[in-house]
Symmetry: C2
Subunit: 115 residues, 2 copies
DNA sequence: CCCCTAGGTTGACAGATTTCGAAGCAGGCG
DNA sequence: CGCCTGCTTCGAAATCTGTCAACCTAGGGG
């Protein structure tokens, strides 16, 4: 059974083979994190940011939400392994974990129906 | 519930441009549906099933959950536009919406950092 | 027509999520 | 040192979710 201890998630495309239960728990956690409009936008803003990094100070004012709330959503993304943060002087910068995104993308990639 | 207006969801890869708020809500709904281990496994079992279809009667016994609970999860996947169902005599068959999966996969596909 | 099986619907409830305001910590500036 | 600003953590309220037991519906036999 594939261990989830690996930094890279695992697994052949959804449509190729059933995802084992342990892996499902790990992968579902990442999808769950993306399953909120605010977090999906945060994720896209970070991933598409100039230089590959975005400052919280630029993210927060883009939403009609308080600072603590944005901070909470960023924490969820962090704990899901989708972003990494890094304090640099006064500001905190976030960047996307592209390896993780690629793994999720590959999982959903489709092939022809099996049969 | 949230009906998907467009057959194809939209949007360039996450890392290419920020996802607009409206699209984010629609897309996040699909990720949210995948954000549960049981649903992710159901999705993979359906998508990888022989002939591209799976009968509920084969899905239910694969989990330590009651029928109503599986039925609920399948409903969530259906409402997220990820699967379609089809009664055929006594049994109900589910198949994956590959177009939708492809759209989600494309969204998470990564390119080089912008800049 | 009656009943049996496969699934879906309803109602209920414990536990998780989203969101906020208030308070805390870290770094820079006067 | 003292204080401001940026971000995170804490505590609390409203809402949403996962799950089950109980009940209902559709099809296929006796």
């Amino acid at each position: 059974m594939l261990t989830v201890l690996e930094p890279e998630v695992c697994c052949a495309p959804l449509a190729s083979a059933a995802v084992p239960a342990e892996a499902a728990a790990d992968l579902a956690a990442s999808f769950k994190a993306l399953g909120d409009p605010v977090r999906l936008q945060l994720m896209s803003m970070i991933a598409s940011a100039d230089g590959g990094e975005a400052c919280v100070c630029d993210l927060t004012p883009a939403f009609d939400l308080t600072g603590p709330t944005i901070s909470h959503h960023l924490k969820v993304l962090r704990e899901a392994g989708l972003v990494e943060s890094d304090r640099r002087g006064t500001w905190v910068w976030y960047r996307a974990n592209r390896t993780r995104l690629a793994a999720l993308s590959a999982l959903l990639a489709i092939g022809a129906p099996t049969a």
